[in-house]
Amino acid sequence: MGVSAANDVSVRDDGDVATAGARPHGTRLRNWVIGLVAGVVFLAAVGWISVNEVRANTRFDRTHAALVTTRFHLSRVVAQLDAVRRALTVVDGQVAQDRQALGRDATQLTGMQTALSTSRTNLSRGNQTVTDLHTCLSGVEQAANALSVNDRARAIEALGSVTASCTAAVDAHG
């Protein structure tokens, strides 16, 4: 079935041919149906497109909001990162300064420990010298006491017992 505009004749299902200007009822109905279908299709298309657009806009809004939030977080984290990096730079500088100070202190400590060790060594030698001098003095004094009572044997004995100490004391201090 179809519409033939060339001869303006409407052909019915039963084969009757209507004259021009007098549209048959079936043709009009078919046109109305076609129009109605077209309208429905149109409306469906527009509706689907509209719904789709609304959804897209909704997604856009959500995505945009998330983007704004993310960028806000990002800016905060970047700020935190900058602050931490600045603090890290400061701490690194302090560590470097402290290490320099530690190095100086350690050097000073080493020098002082060396001086202390030297001083203690000298002190130990000095103590030995003092001991030697005491021993030597005691012997010489005993010898003098013995000699003053004409006890020459005891005087010689006293001197002989301190000879080593007297020699060591003289060697240590001239």
Partner: protein, 440 residues
């Protein structure tokens, strides 16, 4: 026809309008979706950036924590190092201070040793006067070597059995023969700093042998000074007491005697003379017999007015014999003092050549006794700074304060031929029994 044509146009326009609307809507939809994708892309990018930034932040925070920990550790190390530095510096300062004192000690020891060595050489060359000068010159350093005078040590050389008298404002000390000669003599104006004068008795009596002139004591009688001392009778005899005289306390004392003043050969000899002047001016000589048939005994006998001879028609009286365990059978070195109406006999007990030597005191009815110990033990014995004190001599300073001079061994140097050094400490006679105080 026209109607149908209009209808067709209307339909066509309607269709075109619908197509346009649909196309516009589709284009708008496409744009919306494109914006969504673009926004999503931007969101993903931002999320990725945020994740990377957070990762960087975490890493940087971790680095900061590490750096902070490092700084804490370094700061701790600095504090520890500074503590070590401080303690090391303190130790170094202490060591240096000790080294300084040690240097002072070494200097004092060298000076003292130099003087004593010089004296030894002078003695060997029989030059007693120079020996005395050498000793006197190093009295200060030798006193420092022996720890100073805080414990009463005033003369750090051998000065046994001292006797101290005050003449005017000058103190004179006399002692048994030693470095400076037969009778040592030293003097002082402050009782603390003493210098050697020399040999108070350059020549002995004709009957006496050298090298054993002991325990001198000096008494001023008018313008004369009598020096009592013990000396060995030449030819292997016992020790006996003699007297020499001088016109000044520093001598020289001359002994022109042909025999001892007191002598008890059967009692082991007589030593440790001490002259006592009673309130009536009577002079008595106290001494000790050294043994023999009797125990060591302290005796007394009056002398004549000059103090150089025994009073006629008198005999020795025994004052004291050893009765106490600490004396170990020996009483000697008497020194009689009249104080507050009481006669106090100071004496030494035990072995002179030991750390057990000490000083006791007895109360006497008078110069001729009898005497009884006032205490169960010695009133002066060894302590942490000296050992075996004895040979005491009690004297009074111009202000009326009483002092006791004595010899003692340095702790750790007890026994001949070590030195018996001179100490002077305060003596309190106000109580029931005398007590010896400190150096000042």
């Amino acid at each position: 026809m026209a109607r149908r044509r209009r209808t067709r146009w209307a339909v066509t326009l309607t269709v075109l309008a619908a197509v346009a609307v649909v196309a516009w809507a589709a284009a708008t939809d496409v744009q919306a979706n494109a914006r969504v994708r673009s926004e999503q892309t931007a969101l993903h990018s931002s999320v990725d950036h945020l994740a990377r930034t957070r990762t960087a932040l975490a890493a940087t925070s971790y680095e900061q924590a590490l750096a902070t920990n490092q700084r804490t550790a370094v700061t701790g190390s600095i504090a520890s190092t500074l503590d070590q530095l401080s303690s090391t510096e303190a130790a170094l300062q202490g060591t240096q201070a000790f080294a300084f004192l040690q240097g002072v000690d070494v200097g004092a020891l060298q000076d003292c040793l130099h003087g004593v060595s010089g004296a030894l050489q002078e003695i060997a060359a029989n030059n007693d006067d120079q020996a005395a000068q050498d000793i006197s010159g190093v009295s200060g350093p030798c006193l420092a070597v022996d720890g100073g005078s805080n414990d009463g040590l005033v003369y750090p050389f051998d000065f046994p059995d001292p006797d101290v008298i005050l003449v005017g404002t000058t103190y004179y000390g006399y002692a048994t023969n030693s470095v400076a000669g037969n009778i040592q003599i030293i003097r002082s104006t402050d009782r603390i700093h003493w210098s050697a004068v020399g040999n108070a008795l350059p020549s002995l009596a004709s009957w006496a042998a050298p090298h054993a002139t002991w325990a001198p004591a000096v008494l001023q009688v008018g313008g004369t000074f009598d020096l009592y001392y013990a000396a060995v009778v030449a030819g292997g005899g016992e020790e006996c007491v003699s007297v020499a005289t001088a016109t000044q306390p520093q001598g020289p004392f001359i002994d022109g005697s042909s025999a001892p003043l007191e002598c008890q050969p059967t009692l082991g000899g007589s030593i440790d003379p001490y002259p006592f002047v009673n309130t009536d001016g009577t002079i008595s000589l106290l001494w000790k017999s050294d043994g023999g048939s009797l125990p060591a005994t302290i005796w007394s006998q009056p002398l004549d007015a000059t103090g150089t001879a025994v009073a006629p028609n008198t005999a020795p009286a025994a004052l004291l014999i050893p009765t106490q365990s600490w004396e170990s059978g020996v009483v000697e070195a008497p020194d009689l003092v009249l104080s507050g109406g009481r006669y106090l006999l100071f004496y030494s007990g035990n072995n002179w050549n030991s750390a057990n030597y000490g000083v006791g005191v007895a109360g006497c009815a008078g110069p001729a006794g009898p005497c009884t110990p006032l205490t169960d033990g010695p009133v002066l014995s060894g302590d942490s700074t000296m050992q075996g004190p004895g040979g005491e001599s009690v004297f009074t300073d111009p202000s009326g304060s009483t002092w006791i001079a004595f010899h003692a061994w340095a702790t750790g140097s007890v026994g001949y031929p070590h030195s018996r050094e001179l100490y002077i400490r305060r003596l309190d006679l106000s109580g029931g029994a005398p007590s010896v105080g400190g150096a000042s």
